[in-house]
């Protein structure tokens, strides 16, 4: 409780205004909750009251915290990013079986072997970037088994 104001101060400096509102509400809620909690031993069966109070506090506020505004996306995507996006959709296509533990090319070849018609472009993409692990390995390459 002591440090809550301090927190708000930091938030105010670093975040956008809406965020600060949210933080303040959160802190307020905690304050109310804690005060009820500390008062609880005096009265009995007040835990329901506690929750009621919390709910009232929320409805009273009237202004729901809006999500942070999303940054306007840069419309221009580099070729590499587009390639990687395409490879990612290939990884996520369940028709070709699991992708963890084998390279993308191995997975492509398995699909071709069993007549599943994997997209031709994927193979070309993989073969033209043989040395780049971002291309050759699957999406979850950094995760251990």
């Amino acid at each position: 409780m002591r440090h809550s104001n301090h927190n708000v101060g930091i938030c105010y400096k670093n975040r956008k205004y809406d965020d600060v509102i949210m933080w303040m509400i959160m802190d307020g809620l905690i304050l109310i909750f804690l005060s009820c909690f500390s008062a609880m031993p005096a009265k009995r069966g007040l835990i329901t009251d506690t929750f009621k109070v919390v709910k009232r506090a929320r409805t009273r506020d009237q202004k729901p915290p809006s999500p942070p505004e999303s940054e306007p996306e840069i419309p221009v995507i580099s070729e590499r990013e587009r390639d990687l996006q395409e490879l990612k959709t290939f990884d996520l296509d369940w028709h070709f079986g699991p992708c963890i533990g084998i390279s993308r090319l191995q997975r492509w070849e398995r699909a071709a072997l069993h007549g599943l018609d994997p997209p031709r472009e994927i193979k070309e993409l993989l073969q033209s970037n043989e040395d780049d692990p971002e291309y050759t390995q699957c999406l979850w390459r950094d995760y251990p088994l």
Binding site: W94, G97, I100, G101, E109, R110, L145
Partner: protein, 475 residues
């Protein structure tokens, strides 16, 4: 039949030795090994087993969908085949997927770890099935519980099947009927003019505690190499043109089980398998000098444990190694001998299914594995298996003419026919050390016959033991 061809010539044994002993040329066969699919190139264990199940389902789905249409789709147009994600409640349809049998009693390492503080590990059992087992069918994305007219205890995890039925309100699938993929296509067999035989044996259990089987084993070797009988018998032995040893040539006792013994205590002791392999080498050298021999490894032999087991190393057999007739082969074994396709294992797959299903008879299990087109459905669940990713090598895509499994408790054989007229001989090769029995297959007629080497004494002993047991309670 082999026994019909063995005829003694009169007075060749009792007469005086002739000026020149006759020489019987052994029949030679054309032989092509088809074990490539079971040879491991790179050995990478960085993969999960999800790949092998995925490959299995991809490979089997087409076949099963065809079978399902043929079986159920005749009357009123094709029956809908659905993925589990597209099921509609109440609609009759066919689903294809991999069976998972949920078993209460199945040993689990996680349970052992969680219970290790207050409970002993689960005792090993002969069978791990129980009344509470449930069948679950899995496809690429989902799983569904199966109920209705399907015999839970007969199935094992890993089998790919097609089931007909409908989904109920509670999310379970009521099964009306199921179908297996049944026998694959079979290449035609060559017509042979003469009788030629292949001898199959397994389970020599060398290096074991009992030396009973050594006499039988030596009799077998002497018979095949033509050191027994008279000239008539010897000439018929020359028609045995190949020998196949299906695993467990070394005894279980040769494996060092007590690994918790201190290192310095075991420093000077020699591994039990060394002596046993030397014994095997001495037997093999007698055989390979006269006839081609294929040696498959088994569960207790010194090679890798996981299926497919790789051939025993040649350097273990210094005596028989120089002979080109010694063929060291992989454990699931596939070869074409004179146009007859052989396929089989040393028996681990069959023993494992016996443990996890209600079936007891090795021959019944053997037939079932062929009908579901999979050598070892329980791998990798309860049977050790290499993590394949590209395809499942245990799927039977060409129907063999002879399908065998080794180390069975007794000799059995059966001819089965498939829906497209396939003709297959099923053989369970008995364990030699306990039964003293080998089998002979006639390549011309595909008939099979057992040949026993048991001396009278062992049978007599069994009988007297039985008598004692029988008399015991009466007195």
């Amino acid at each position: 039949m082999f026994s019909d061809t063995v005829v003694q010539k009169e007075s060749t044994l009792l007469g005086p030795p002739g000026p020149a002993e006759p020489v019987f040329e052994r029949e030679t066969l054309s032989y092509t090994s088809c074990c490539d699919r079971f040879q491991l190139g790179e050995r990478s264990f960085n993969r999960q087993y999800a790949h092998i199940y995925a490959a299995r389902l991809i490979q089997m789905r087409g076949v099963l969908e065809q079978r399902a249409q043929k079986m159920w789709g005749e009357e009123r147009g094709p029956i809908p085949i659905r993925k589990l994600g597209d099921l509609k409640i109440g609609e009759q349809c066919v689903i294809v997927g991999t069976v998972f049998k949920h078993m209460e009693l199945q040993p689990s390492i996680l349970r052992e770890i969680s219970e290790e503080h207050n409970l002993l590990p689960q005792p090993p059992r002969a069978k791990y099935i129980s009344q509470s087992d449930e069948l679950i069918l899995e496809d690429e994305l989902q799983r569904i519980r199966l109920e209705g007219s399907i015999d839970t205890a007969m199935f094992v995890t890993g089998t790919v099947i097609a089931v007909k039925g409908a989904e109920r309100n509670d999310g379970k699938f009521t099964v009306e009927d199921f179908c297996l993929s049944d026998l694959p296509e079979q290449p035609p067999r060559q017509r042979l003019e003469s009788n030629r035989f292949v001898l199959l044996a397994s389970g020599f259990s060398l290096g074991g505690t009992s030396a009973d089987s050594m006499l039988g084993l030596q009799l077998l070797v002497d018979m095949v190499t033509g050191h027994l009988g008279d000239q008539g018998e010897q000439s018929s032995m020359a028609s045995i043109s190949r020998i196949l040893l299906a695993g467990n040539l070394l005894s279980r006792n040769t494996q060092n089980k007590d690994s918790n013994k201190a290192k310095y205590l075991t420093k000077k002791t020699q591994a039990g398998s060394v002596e046993a392999v030397r014994l095997l080498d001495e037997l093999l050298v007698q055989l390979v000098a006269s006839v081609p021999v294929d040696v498959m490894p088994g569960q207790y032999d010194p090679t890798n444990y996981t299926l497919p087991q790789q051939p025993l190393h040649r350097c273990m057999f210094p005596l028989s190694n120089p002979y080109p007739t010694l063929q060291l082969v992989t454990n699931p074994y596939q070869a074409c001998v004179d146009g007859v396709r052989f396929l089989g294992t040393s028996g681990q797959n069959i023993c494992d299914i016996v443990k996890y299903s209600s079936m007891d008879d090795h021959l019944e299990v053997l037939e079932r594995t062929l009908r579901q087109r999979h050598l070892a459905p329980t791998a990798p669940d309860t049977l050790g298996c290499y993590p394949f990713y590209q395809s499942d090598p245990f799927i039977v895509d060409v129907c063999p003419h002879v399908y065998f499994s080794g180390n069975a408790p007794c000799y059995q054989s059966k001819r089965i026919t498939g829906p497209e007229g396939q003709d297959v001989l099923l053989v369970t090769i008995p364990e030699f050390s306990s039964t003293q029995t080998a089998c002979l297959i006639n390549l011309r007629t595909l008939e099979c016959e057992q040949i026993r080497f048991s001396s009278f004494s062992t049978e007599d002993n069994e009988e007297t033991e039985m008598n004692v047991k029988y008399l015991g309670p009466a007195t």
